[in-house]
């Protein structure tokens, strides 16, 4: 058994993992990053449209600041988010954009003077200020009241990831490419690293670390139709779950993106609609204003996706030989705009659909896109139940997205969480708590357990096929745990997934080729994915309300009275076929923004008994603060600055603010 020692083990080489590595290295911690693929191939690269940060440089961002970004994010989350974490996030996001600017991201910039844009289907002229010329500009995105999304054409994630990854190379960050963590080493109270498989040689190694950080992204591949990359199988969340001690938060909160091209499921950015693109039905009628007069195509993603499916179900689809879909129309944006700001979209349309979006409509239909749920952490990114385990980015439930994430807040989270959580990890490693007297017997025990599990898959004579099980799971998730959910179908899904999980314990891997052995990889991953799928399905079945992306046709109202709670899934019994679900209440009395209407979507919700009291308290507090001092007011309502690492507490420079 080869054992590799380091201070910090980062699992995942995307934006979050790389920023964690840079952060801890800066604090003199030794660090190794494990990555399934060369890090620049991570799914962060697929983020097209941009990164939210309230820079307010563009004239359409005038009046924007951390407060507006905060309320947009909390409303977007349908009040599921941890508001202190949202505050930490919105204050750090401008710093993250500026750090990336200093490191080389070629953010699109403000051009002074007049320019033509498309707003609500019409061409209008806006005039950018002289003072803003050359600063980072922004585009409009869904669920935001200002143009706040910084971008690099529609290759934002690509530029960010390449810049971050090159900065990591500059700092000699060690990346072990093509490696996969199969299990966390722990003693029930504390995490000591991971058992890791080399995906070239098939070798099994032990990585021992003071702190381990999971940054493996989302788990979209438990669904059949998803925008996610094929590596987004949620293995980081799964190995945390398999400790039996760490919990996964809000796994039923799964986002469906309105505009995946049909039928391939490949994403075209929300920037299409942000820049003025429209959604049309089979009769080429623009239907979103009929449902959402306030925000139209730019309501939050959960709302737009539901309205699209609803409109299709009432007989207004377009159709092709693959089935029903709707249209995305960006023709009105014009060739020049598309070829400079939406060029990846144009390329995807060309290669996968054989069309030119300058002249043709794009067939789209909602597809699974983002996992709001993940490894539950505190505001430091630390698992509250397993010391030394951290998580960041989409793999985590930190929890700044609640039940629906806003477009542009995901890449923003990866970098912001990377900045903040890396400081907390370094603090932890510098502190006395991280000292251990780890027994080598424990490491060997985990190594042997994983070795035996792999051997069992190839030698125990099972007859189940991992590829077939994967496909059945994906069909169940897409058909029964999708955009519209109800108790009957969720109940079926839970039953069927349990049956698949039992069958997955009898997988027989026929090939015993040396090396990675893709059949073996599919086998151990589907066992883990089924556990995640059960967390999603059971969480959705139990949650008898509708909140954000979780929509129950049999319980269409948001129910703050019973469900202003975060689901915590754990898997204490290895042989069980269901997770254990616990619930963590959100405290209305400490909220800066008590629950209310989001500004789009349904208006009726069942109120929490504390909401009125908290509103009155906020009114009373506001009365005592001099008008106009937004910082003092914020501080009085919900202090959070003390939670930030000192290095990131400063105020952000903004035009027109002193």
């Amino acid at each position: 058994m080869q054992t590799i020692h380091t201070d910090v083990l980062v699992i995942g080489g995307g934006l979050a993992g790389m920023r964690i590595a840079i952060g801890v290295k800066r604090r003199d911690q030794e660090c190794i990053v494990l990555s399934l693929v060369p890090p620049k191939r991570s799914h962060s690269a697929a983020a097209q449209g941009g990164m939210q940060a309230s820079l307010a440089n563009s004239i359409k961002g005038e009046g924007d600041n951390e407060d507006v970004h905060f309320t947009d994010t909390v409303r977007g989350s349908d009040w599921g988010a941890d508001q202190r974490v949202v505050r930490m996030f919105t204050n750090t996001a401008p710093k993250a954009v500026r750090e990336l600017a200093a490191w080389g991201v070629p953010w699109n910039r403000v051009q002074r003077g007049d320019r033509e844009v498309v707003i609500n289907g019409k061409r209008v002229t806006i005039t950018e200020q002289d003072a803003a010329h050359g600063l980072i500009t922004a585009r409009d995105f869904g669920g935001t009241r200002k143009w706040r999304t910084s971008y690099v054409s529609d290759g934002t994630g690509h530029s960010m990831l390449y810049t971050m990854s090159d900065q990591a190379i500059a700092r000699d960050i060690v990346v072990h490419e093509r490696t996969e963590a199969l299990a966390l080493i722990h003693d029930g109270a504390r995490c000591y690293g991971a058992i890791v498989r080399n995906l070239v040689s098939g070798e099994l190694l032990a990585y021992v670390a003071s702190a381990t950080c999971i940054a493996t992204g989302g788990f979209g591949r438990i669904y059949r139709t998803t925008t996610n990359a094929v590596i987004n199988e949620g293995m980081g969340a799964a190995i945390a779950l398999e400790t039996g001690v760490a919990t996964l938060g809000n796994m039923e909160a799964v986002q469906f993106h309105p505009t995946a091209i049909f039928p391939a499921g490949i994403l075209v950015t929300e920037g299409c609609r942000g820049d003025g693109g429209l959604l049309l039905d089979g009769n080429e009628h623009r239907f979103m204003p009929d449902y959402e007069p306030e925000k139209k195509e730019l309501a939050s993603r959960d709302v737009v996706s539901r309205r699209m499916e609803q409109h299709m179900a009432s007989g207004h689809s377009a159709s092709s030989r693959f089935g029903d879909h709707l249209w995305l129309d960006i023709r009105l944006l014009g060739r020049q705009h598309i070829e400079s700001n939406l060029r990846e979209v144009k390329e995807i349309c060309h290669y996968f659909l054989g069309i030119d979006p300058v002249t043709d409509l794009i067939p789209v239909r909602p597809a699974q896109h983002y996992s709001m749920g993940g490894v539950r952490t505190d505001h430091r990114g630390q698992c509250p139940t397993l010391q030394g385990l951290f998580a960041a980015g989409e793999a985590s439930c930190w929890d700044m997205h609640g039940f629906n994430r806003l477009g542009g807040n995901s890449v923003a989270e990866t970098v912001v969480a990377g900045m903040l959580v890396s400081e907390f990890i370094a603090d932890y490693c510098d502190g006395a708590d991280s000292e251990t007297t780890l027994s080598s017997a424990l490491v060997r025990q985990f190594w042997r357990r994983e070795r035996d599990r792999l051997q069992q898959l190839t030698t125990a004579g099972g007859n189940e096929n991992p590829f077939a099980l994967t496909r059945e799971m994906q069909d169940i998730m897409t058909d029964k745990v999708g955009i519209f959910r109800d108790g009957a179908r969720l109940g079926e899904a839970v039953e069927e997934l349990q049956s698949l999980l039992r069958r997955s314990r009898k997988i027989g891997v026929n090939n015993q080729v040396p090396g990675a052995n893709p059949e073996l990889v599919a086998a151990y991953r589907v066992q883990k994915k089924l556990k995640l799928a059960l967390c999603v399905a059971l969480g959705a079945l139990q949650r008898s309300e509708s909140r954000g992306a979780h929509f129950r046709q049999d319980f269409p109202q948001r129910n703050d009275s019973d469900w202003l709670r975060r689901t915590l899934a754990s898997w204490p019994d290895e042989d069980a076929t269901l997770p254990r679900l616990d619930y963590e209440p959100l405290d209305v009395m400490n909220m800066e923004l008590p629950p209310g209407w989001r500004g789009y979507g349904a208006r009726d919700h069942i109120e929490h008994p504390d909401t009125q009291q908290r509103m009155s308290a906020i009114e009373a507090i506001s009365g005592q603060i001099p008008t106009g001092d937004r910082f003092a007011l914020q501080q009085a309502l919900m202090p959070y600055e003390h939670l930030l690492p000192e290095r990131y507490r400063g105020r952000n420079a903004r035009l027109g603010e002193t």
């Binding site: 693929v37 620049k40 799914h43 710093k95 500026r98 500059a170 590829f467 990675a516």
Partner: protein, 247 residues
């Protein structure tokens, strides 16, 4: 997996894959043919996954985004380097020949170690912004940049390190450490960027030899096959001219 559907007029495809697993001492490179039914909208991503799931569970290949943006799936498609994920089978003859990209370390079958090659190139060419100040002030305004310039930089930054330009390069065949179009384009990108404090003399140290701009024979296979259609010949010529002035 994306939905696929066979139509009455669908073809039978024969996919010939050059197979070899260096981890297996008994493995010899050989072509193996797989027959599959073509489906509407079928890409090589869909075809190869179908082959793995139904015929050859040990078949190795690399896909990540399957949308033409991550650069994982470069391979020789009928002898020409390209991205498999966005290659539609309807654009190919019924006999399709697939082989791993040459010049990179073979992992197995169609999977090659482009990651290791690219990291080595990045370390040698120092493909990151070099600044004098180490810690930017994150509370202050960002440095201004002309909007046009930012777009020009992005134009060169669109490279996805897929390795196709290296597989198509005559010089890379002869010189193991040749920076290739991917490396030289990166240097052009940083040279264009005012945030990078390096001078032409500094760049000359990195690429002013036969492993850099002076190794290029201008065969321009790189530009012919670049999946992102980057203006590689212009950048190569431009950098050679600039470096020639330094020397």
């Amino acid at each position: 997996m994306e939905p696929t559907e066979t139509t009455p007029e669908s073809r039978s495809l024969r996919v010939h894959v050059l197979r070899h697993n260096p981890q297996d001492p008994g493995s010899q490179p050989h072509l193996q043919a797989f027959d599959i039914e073509e489906a509407d909208g079928m890409t090589l991503f869909i075809a190869l996954n179908e082959i793995r799931e139904t015929k050859a569970p040990d078949l190795q290949f690399d896909f990540v985004c399957r949308a033409g943006i991550c650069g994982s799936c470069g391979m020789l498609i009928n002898g020409r380097p390209g991205l498999a994920c966005r290659t539609l089978t309807k654009d190919l003859e019924a006999d399709i020949y697939l082989a791993p990209l040459p010049l990179f370390e073979l992992i197995a079958d169609l999977s090659v170690n482009t990651g290791k090659w690219m990291r080595g190139m990045s370390e040698r060419l120092e493909t990151w912004i070099h600044t004098d100040e180490n810690e930017p002030d994150l509370n202050a305004f960002e440095a201004r940049m002309e909007p046009q310039l930012a777009q020009q930089i992005y134009e060169l930054e669109r490279c996805i390190e897929c390795g196709c330009c290296i597989a198509a390069c005559g010089t890379a065949r002869m010189r193991e450490e040749f920076a290739g179009a991917v490396g030289l384009n990166k240097i052009a990108r940083f040279r264009l960027d005012p945030r990078d404090a390096r001078s032409d003399a500094d760049y000359y140290e990195l690429i002013g030899d036969e492993n850099g701009v002076f190794g290029c024979m201008s065969l321009l296979g790189c530009e012919d096959i670049c999946p992102k259609e980057l203006p590689l010949s212009t950048q190569l010529a431009f950098m050679r001219r600039k470096m020639a002035f330094v020397s």
